[in-house]
Symmetry: C2
Subunit: 347 residues, 2 copies
């Protein structure tokens, strides 16, 4: 079968690899029907050293169950399923609390931690299939497929930002970052009723989609000027919640600049730093809170899917390009160049 | 009148200063009947440079109103009042939300920011008296005075740690630090019904008081060994909430070590650092949250005072020494030497 491999920064190849097969009794083999490139894939695409590769890529996919191990009880051949980016048993104490990204099962993992599997491929062996996979009540050729695919990561991640930030109808929200996660954080904040949603972004097509998703204000300036503009929009004090969907230190500093005293910075952009200001001069004095992390998207699928199925939201609009496996390397480059917002893959 | 001045590290003096008087129409003049030394006073006591002094000291006090400006409407001469450590108008949008430490009034301040006033003195000019001061329904010689004095800072701060950490009957809690704030964080967690309260501390008299306040377990080891012991007491995963009542980097690292995935580190110890780990290797991967800051104690007095008045709690037990103004310098030294837990001052 064919799969996407990253050999180093800027070096993505689609290659012939051994067929994925069921290995453990709790595995399922899934034939991928839709997958995509994640904004977080762009971090190694910009910085990965060749000695750290090659790495199998892709952690967001939908597919059809082709085989199951003898202990799989809830899935059968032919089921259409979506795979969250975290493998989990869905039964441990953390999963029961909705924190599937901290599943205590020894086989729990992120796809990035499975060296021989990845979603940007023809097929995937899915560990803990009963816990990880969620059945979709549509056919594989449904027009809803792009939106349903966002349940595997990017929409769940935007929703997680909003939930961890405590967004509700009484909150004003700033979203930092106009990538797919940022835009779906806008949609999520809107869905949770936020009073005001300020999107900080500068790419016209993305801003337009942000407005469509519910942004009430756009701030394109960065740094001190961007901070001043957000403060002007909020009576001088900033917003109760900041959804930080980038992960860089400038984005964190921007979050500190626009958050209201007593407010919360909810981070879902993978931090590209370890140490950052949290003392008297930043978080502590104004009682700011910090929240977020990798989204337990498995916990959110039941809540979010009905709104997709009934057409009230269309998170799949973040996909502005579609390719087959051959086009994946170019898709990475287009996303890195900001020519594409998010690339959908039909293997 | 006489007041306490700090001239530099280790150099506290009680000196004659100009009498405090009402200056602004919203001021009150309060004759201090009880005051104390705060754990946070020990930071400058260990490190203050002489060129930064002298500084008027003390931000926790109870006293009798002796004079009021013409715009003060809720207080009159003879009222017994407690002063929170933050001066606030109690009417702005932040005060109405219970965040008096971020009061938007131009005169809002901490006592430490008032160069000519301080609680470790015979009298204090209190700005924004209607907003700042809270009347006490007892006489100045009440036996409840030590406990009521804790409402000015130390009990409210322990309570804030527990509230910001979201302590409830389903939470297990670790308290880092056996100083007066840490011990009152134990009492606060107990009051909010915490299922388990692990106190990390090593001084026998403080541990004993911690147990009396509600600690269910004591861990005296520090660093990796202390972390391992907390994990052993909690099924391997750590506690949902960590109340960090010290403020040093080792205390923060200890908090990271004992907090459960998805849990919260609530800080009330004034951070002695600005940058600290919050990335993938610390807060982000396990979806840890960070909360806390200077406690808006004014917001908590109405809730906490009844439990003191009816005798169900006795936070004043943190005072293990009493002195007059002459004894204040020795009181600082005794607290720095850990000979005293907290020193009450009767001017």
């Amino acid at each position: 079968m064919r799969a996407t491999m990253m050999y180093g920064a800027g070096d993505v190849r689609v290659e012939q690899v051994p067929d994925s097969v069921v290995k453990l009794p709790t595995d399922a083999l899934v034939r991928v029907t839709a997958s995509c490139v994640c904004g977080s894939d762009l971090w190694p695409y910009s910085s990965m050293k060749p000695e750290d590769g090659p790495a199998r890529m892709g952690h967001e996919f939908i597919g059809i169950v082709e085989d199951t191990g003898p202990e799989v009880t809830t899935l059968k051949r032919g089921d259409l399923v979506v795979a969250p980016f975290a493998i989990s048993d869905n039964t441990c104490q953390f999963c029961r609390e909705g924190l599937h990204t901290s599943c205590a099962h020894p086989q729990a993992n992120f796809w990035d931690g499975e060296p021989d599997e990845g979603g940007q491929a023809e097929a995937v062996r899915v560990p803990l299939a009963d816990g990880t996979l969620v059945k979709l009540p549509v056919e594989a050729d449904s027009a809803l497929m792009p939106s349903l695919l966002t349940l595997s990561d990017v929409f769940g991640t935007g929703h997680h930002a909003a939930v961890a930030g405590g967004v509700n109808p009484r909150t004003r929200v700033t979203v930092i970052g106009d990538g797919a996660v940022g835009l779906l954080a806008v949609l999520s904040a809107k869905r949770l009723g936020a009073e005001q949603i300020i999107l900080m972004g500068r790419h016209q097509a993305r801003i337009d989609l942000g407005r469509e998703f519910g942004a009430t204000d756009i701030v394109s300036a960065r740094g001190e000027e961007g901070i001043a503009q957000v403060r002007e929009l909020t009576g001088g004090h900033g917003t109760h919640v900041v959804l930080e969907a980038v992960g860089t230190m400038p984005a964190y500093r921007q979050a500190l600049g626009v958050v209201r005293p007593g407010g919360v910075i909810s981070r879902v952009g993978v931090p590209q730093y370890e140490d950052a200001p949290i003392g008297m001069g930043s978080l502590f004095r104004p009682n700011l809170r910090l929240a977020g992390g990798p989204a337990p998207v498995r916990a959110y699928i039941e809540e979010l899917m009905p709104d997709i199925l009934n057409g009230s939201i269309e998170p799949g609009k973040v996909f502005d390009a579609t390719t087959d496996l051959d086009g994946v390397p170019a898709g990475y480059q287009d996303m890195a160049d900001r020519k594409s917002l998010k690339v959908l893959i039909k293997p």
